[in-house]
């Protein structure tokens, strides 16, 4: 969040050259990170879960989607007990004898993929529209912000549901299953863009008044280039905060949609689908089929959320002592 060339820049250059890591270690943001145990723990948890999901095919003890490795006899094995075949499943098995640990790892892969892709999509859309509205002003600004206002007054989950329903109606039935995950990303992404647009627009309107923008304009830099090359880097801080929080939101929204039965197809279960399946066995006492996917979802959403909370405080100059 530095402004155009700071006056003390030459002084810094005169100081003994230090490595990138040393400067990183001493930076404001990292200092606040080191001194905030909640941020350290939640980032470690989030990182572990994400790595576990990415490397699921190498970590998972079984391949839950390969019917050859499934043993129906092992169905409903409680966690930690030996199954009929003698295998011990750390987290137990579901009704078809699938190892729950592997299913969860593969499931969080789907959840995280949808979450990241949807956040990336809504970020691209929201930042471009917000930058355009804030830098251009005028009628475009009014229209874009009106739409964002109206959309923000409806819950995101309702909008995602509607978009998903419409898309299902437009896509031919034989392609629905293969397209479902992309439709889901589109629906969640479109439901979350307004927050980005609003923040970027506000920040861009402030930046537009500053001298470096006038200087660029006088030098004859075209409008879009000023907006993207000069204004955008200066509004990235708030965008990063919203991106983190909306990643947690997107993961929860994906889980909710899948839980409602309108999300990813059952051949590619995400955490929400697993919870939906697990709820069927709640009354018959097989609690672990529901418990472990739910725990994974909670850990994932909570750690990313807390990280976003910390980031918001760390990047907010008003809160710095």
């Amino acid at each position: 969040m530095t402004e155009a060339p700071p006056p003390e820049a030459p002084v810094e250059a005169a100081a003994p050259a230090r490595g990138f890591w040393a400067r990183f270690w001493d930076s404001d943001v990292f200092w606040s990170y080191r001194h905030n145990p909640v941020a350290v723990v939640s980032s470690l948890v989030a990182l572990t879960l994400i790595l576990a999901a990415v490397f699921a095919p190498w970590i998972a003890p079984h391949d839950p989607f390969n019917p050859a490795t499934l043993q129906l006899m092992d169905g409903f094995t409680p966690p930690g007990e030996a199954a009929m075949s003698g295998t011990v499943y750390r987290f137990g098995t579901d009704d078809q004898g699938r190892d729950l640990l592997s299913t969860i790892l593969y499931g969080s892969r789907v959840s995280l993929f949808v979450g990241f892709a949807a956040t990336l999509f809504s970020m691209t859309l929201g930042v471009s529209l917000g930058l355009f509205a804030g830098y251009r002003g005028g009628l475009a600004d009014t229209i874009i912000m009106r739409v964002a206002d109206v959309q923000l007054s409806f819950p995101a989950i309702l909008i995602a549901l509607l978009i998903f329903g419409v898309a299902q109606g437009v896509i031919p039935p034989n392609k629905q299953e293969s397209m479902a995950i992309w439709v889901l990303i589109l629906a969640i992404g479109l439901a979350n863009w307004a927050q980005f647009a609003r923040t970027v627009r506000g920040a861009a309107m402030v930046e537009r008044q500053k001298d470096y923008v006038s200087a660029a304009r006088i030098m004859g830099v075209p409008g879009p280039a000023i907006a993207f090359k000069h204004v955008l880097p200066n509004v990235l801080g708030p965008v990063l905060v919203i991106a983190t929080i909306s990643l947690a939101l997107a993961i929860i929204e994906e889980a909710t949609l899948s839980y409602l039965g309108v999300g990813v197809p059952p051949t590619q279960p995400s955490l929400g689908t697993l919870i939906r399946i697990g709820q069927r066995f709640l009354f018959s006492g097989e609690w672990w089929i529901l418990f472990f996917p739910a725990l994974m979802l909670i850990l994932l959403a909570l750690s990313v959320n807390l990280l976003g909370d910390w980031l918001r405080d760390a990047l907010n100059p008003k809160l710095r002592q």
């Binding site: 819950p155 549901l161 909670i298």
Partner: protein
């Protein structure tokens, strides 16, 4: 004042027309309405006749006009999935959703305001380490004792929860801090997981409350069936209402707390203290009154979200309301129901927004100076 109302009305009308246009686009272009109504083996001539009769060959703007006229009269055609008039379907399920929404909104408001005021008054200072240790010991030790006595996990948790609530009376700042921490976790939990958790504790393990449906209902007037009058109806309302209200409750609590802390720092409160007024008079008669304005706004706006969030809660608890109808329609791509539901929710939001704006205007004299730019 009149200009303000007129401008707000006009804005609401524009929003409704925009939403109606989206609903119309869905209705017209998602799937073919004729396919939805006729079987696969209908003759081509019959299809054309129906197409003509439905006005699908009219120019685009005429079709939109017809759609708006019909929507204003409450006609949305026939559901593809259930082959019943959409309006009738929605109306028959409306009482369930409204009862659920009203109960959870009141619950959220009452508990949220109470907790917000409490945490604002007693959470000003962080609890002393002695207070924290005593409170934690009082919560954990009996729970552990019950666990060792073999009474099971639920008894331990129940005892811990009861003692935690009792700390509101003897360890007030500890209770405030703990409530704030719990609310932060509660906000990040998905609604459906909270619902499942409540089902697990109160329906599966304790077998105290029903986990699905509305129980027995009594028909009051013209198809308005209520669950308020039977024991099973009231019992089945508890879990869904608590699930639905938790999110709004934390929101209201945090809002009341922040506003109240702000007000408690202001000069007129300090003056009231200097006058020697009793604490309760200061807190409730002087401070709380001034925090209520934003609370009214947010609560009103949240009523709309409660109806929309009911989609999830109704699915978790098999509650026969409008929300679960909508989810089933999305699964089956039943476009007329989706379009009608979209318009219904938009209408609820717009009307509530309008009422809240007017209330705000009436309650807070500071806003009456000149027309502020109202926002939808």
């Amino acid at each position: 004042m009149l200009a303000f109302i007129l401008r707000r009305l006009l804005q609401s009308l524009i929003v409704m027309l925009a939403v109606a246009f989206i609903a119309f686009l869905m209705f017209r272009f998602v799937g073919d309405p004729v396919e939805g109504m006729m079987g696969v083996d209908a003759r081509l001539a019959d299809r054309e006749a129906l197409r003509d009769r439905l006005g699908l060959n009219d120019p685009f703007y005429m079709q939109f006009w017809t759609f708006v006229k019909n929507a204003a009269r409450g006609e949305f055609g026939i559901s593809y999935r259930l082959q019943q008039p959409v309006t009738q379907l929605i109306l028959s399920r409306l009482p369930a959703t409204i009862e659920l929404a009203v109960v959870s909104a009141s619950l959220a408001l009452i508990v949220g305001v109470t907790l917000g005021v409490f945490t604002a008054i007693h959470g000003r200072l962080p609890p002393s380490s002695r207070e924290t240790l005593t409170a934690l010991a009082a919560i954990i030790l009996p729970a552990l004792a019950l666990w060792f006595l073999g009474r099971g996990l639920l008894w331990s948790f129940g005892a811990a929860a009861l003692i935690f609530v009792s700390t509101a009376f003897w360890a007030k700042s500890f209770f405030s801090q703990a409530v704030m921490a719990v609310s932060l976790v509660g906000v990040s939990l998905p609604t459906f997981l909270i619902g499942i958790g409540l089902i697990f504790v109160f329906a599966v393990e304790l077998k105290l409350l029903p986990s699905f449906g509305r129980g027995q209902t009594v028909e009051l007037w013209k198809g308005w069936s209520t669950g308020f009058l039977t024991k099973s109806g009231l019992l089945s309302l508890i879990l869904p209402a608590v699930t639905l209200s938790l999110f709004q409750m934390t929101l209201i609590m945090r809002l009341v707390r922040a506003e109240m802390q702000e007000v408690l720092r202001s000069d007129y409160i300090r003056f009231a203290r200097a006058r020697g007024l009793p604490e309760s008079t200061i807190n409730f008669r002087h401070a709380l009154k001034n925090t209520m304005v934003p609370v009214i706004t947010i609560t009103g706006l949240q009523l709309g979200s409660i109806i929309a969030f009911a989609i999830i809660t109704e699915t978790v608890f098999n509650w026969p309301g409008v929300g679960s109808l909508f989810v089933n329609s999305v699964q089956a791509v039943d476009v007329p129901v989706m379009a009608a539901y979209l318009l219904f929710v938009a209408l609820v939001f717009v009307v509530i927004n309008l009422i809240v704006d007017l209330l705000y205007y009436l309650v807070d004299p500071r806003l009456r100076v000149d027309g502020r730019s109202g926002r939808a």
